[in-house]
Symmetry: D2
Subunit: 221 residues, 4 copies
Amino acid sequence: MKHVIALNLKTYEESTGEKGIALCRIAEDVSKSTGVPVIVAPQTVFLAQAVSKLSIPVFAQHVDTVKQGANTGCTTWEAVKSIGCKGSLINHSEHRLPFFQIFEAVEKAKQMGLQSLVCTTNAMESKAVSVSSPSLIAVEPPELIGSGISVSTAKPEIVSNTVKAVESVSRVPVLCGAGITTAIDVKKSIELGASGVLLASAFTKAKNPKEKLEELASGVP
Amino acid sequence: MKHVIALNLKTYEESTGEKGIALCRIAEDVSKSTGVPVIVAPQTVFLAQAVSKLSIPVFAQHVDTVKQGANTGCTTWEAVKSIGCKGSLINHSEHRLPFFQIFEAVEKAKQMGLQSLVCTTNAMESKAVSVSSPSLIAVEPPELIGSGISVSTAKPEIVSNTVKAVESVSRVPVLCGAGITTAIDVKKSIELGASGVLLASAFTKAKNPKEKLEELASGVP
Amino acid sequence: MKHVIALNLKTYEESTGEKGIALCRIAEDVSKSTGVPVIVAPQTVFLAQAVSKLSIPVFAQHVDTVKQGANTGCTTWEAVKSIGCKGSLINHSEHRLPFFQIFEAVEKAKQMGLQSLVCTTNAMESKAVSVSSPSLIAVEPPELIGSGISVSTAKPEIVSNTVKAVESVSRVPVLCGAGITTAIDVKKSIELGASGVLLASAFTKAKNPKEKLEELASGVP
Amino acid sequence: MKHVIALNLKTYEESTGEKGIALCRIAEDVSKSTGVPVIVAPQTVFLAQAVSKLSIPVFAQHVDTVKQGANTGCTTWEAVKSIGCKGSLINHSEHRLPFFQIFEAVEKAKQMGLQSLVCTTNAMESKAVSVSSPSLIAVEPPELIGSGISVSTAKPEIVSNTVKAVESVSRVPVLCGAGITTAIDVKKSIELGASGVLLASAFTKAKNPKEKLEELASGVP
């Protein structure tokens, strides 16, 4: 697998409405110009529009594990698939799931032919989650999320230990996240064994998101 | 206020993808042909597409009370407003909220110039919610939801008592819901003092949704 | 009703084990020596022991609204009644409930002959909750909880407006809480119309809890 | 390890108040007379009384992962340890936890010198949980809980597959549960590799709980 940059656009003002679509287009442009695979996860409300304009993979930020039927205000796997999403983040630190629902979600994604990117906080959790063989795992120490202090610099052992722990039971690629803001953070993450990075504010809230993403992509070997 | 029919499309297979958009169009067509105001609440993923094709009010089924910012997998009031939604259901029986969040949501909707339709289960709850002056209240005894047994027939006193209780503290119009499936159910609801009805499966899962909605609209005086 | 001091012991180290029971005894001693009614709410684990040693009312900090039956790790109203509790806090800011569960809990307490003290955050919520006629309401602006800045000093209008709003629909006595730490805070609260105060850390974490509670009680006219 | 019978008393009327304490005493008596280790998990409210009267291990049904401090209506590990509990069920099907909280709870239990019995629903989840090395795992297919149809008869492969899956990454003993009601159910469970059983209603709601537990214990080799 090529190293990947996954972009969580969250619900920032900067990712709402036309601004959010503009960020998606930048992600696509930079992915094409640099050759680095980029996954983008816009807000649910803008998913359909994003998918219709992009050729890079668009993920949901969260999908509910409910079945199609009498549920209100939920987002089903069938709905996100119907508009052309390629997968979803699962269990992000801002949207934690009960344990059994993570596994249900991974299984459901497989049945639907969609990809699953499960977020975890450390090596042990990552190893445990890898038992279900999701498409990707992203390890993010919660205390560094949004901190601007990169996990690959501040806690490099979390990245390398997670990669080793996951390799001991599966072949799931491991991304790392939390505080990734520079090309050096990306480079170090990959040197530590990560298959890429997951990030949000460094891109979404950048003064010049295009330049920032180009810089981040330059950290991919 | 004219009597209104509010349609919650839930996450049924019948309301997913193109089928869901088709249901929205039917709602619009019947509203125009009969003159009965119809509100439609599609799945979040299809909101933007629905709004772009309709002139009747489109509501979200649920909006999260989070602020714009570092949240993942949530739907903000700003996002639904940006695409042209006119309001949202709040506290549906399939998406209950902590008490303070209901009031926060009503207040936020007001600030945004959007409408709020708060769901409740009985007269006392409705009276309490009306203190916050939402745009609409819909009372739905949970045991009758999806039952096919109309609240206006099985428990008419819930409708009339709710209308009276709400009138004692506010001027919020009261819809009723749960088991509404025929023109007679609609007619009785309005005779009991309701300002309209909220329904889901009777329309969404009807063999011929257009005929069914025309029938329901014929119950509006 | 006489003015009351309600003490939430929370899950502080200072309220765990023998220390918690000692705090309960102090509450009883000060209530007797000053004549001020005191309600004490120890941790669930220590409720039975507290009740067995005290004659002042002992409340639970939270009761689950589940029925007796196949539930695991819950606390039922039947269980707290069986050991002699006199009531429970409901919807504390650290244990928020869905709206309908607050009303279910108030109703259940009435059926069981127990008292209900419902926590709210402002005047509008308090008015709404008072529709269900709980035994007591305690209004606590969340931003002042644990702040050491008294609601009665920093936001006196919240107390007086809440008292008026509740009086407009019911006769439920209103306590106030958040930042109550001195006799003056208590005195002002009562002057603003409150029927007493709800507090936690000022007592539980005081260097000398007995002196502190005596001081607080001296603020009751 | 000797094979063990773990009894979850849930919040049944039959396990409330003096009846619950009587069930605890029966558990102790049968454990002593048969030599089969029995763990009993009473309701939180009755934990302290149960511990004070028993010499067999008493577990909580659930412990919150919050730290000691400003939390209301929670049960801390420190509180249950302070009264002499030996451990707790974690993630029971009637009290599911976010994934990361399961691991936090297992780790906290270890730090406190307490035992952790984590409930799961299948082999894959059990393997994943065993990565955290809890004291015990109990696999319970949710569809059979309370059914009276024993997992060891209806779905024996779940038991044997779980035992194998867990053995592939750890040495955590596996109990099985769901529908265990007879000595034969217990015997089969152990033949399938289980280290014992977890059960609730078969004991708690038995006409003669003592006879029933003696029967169940007779299934242990």
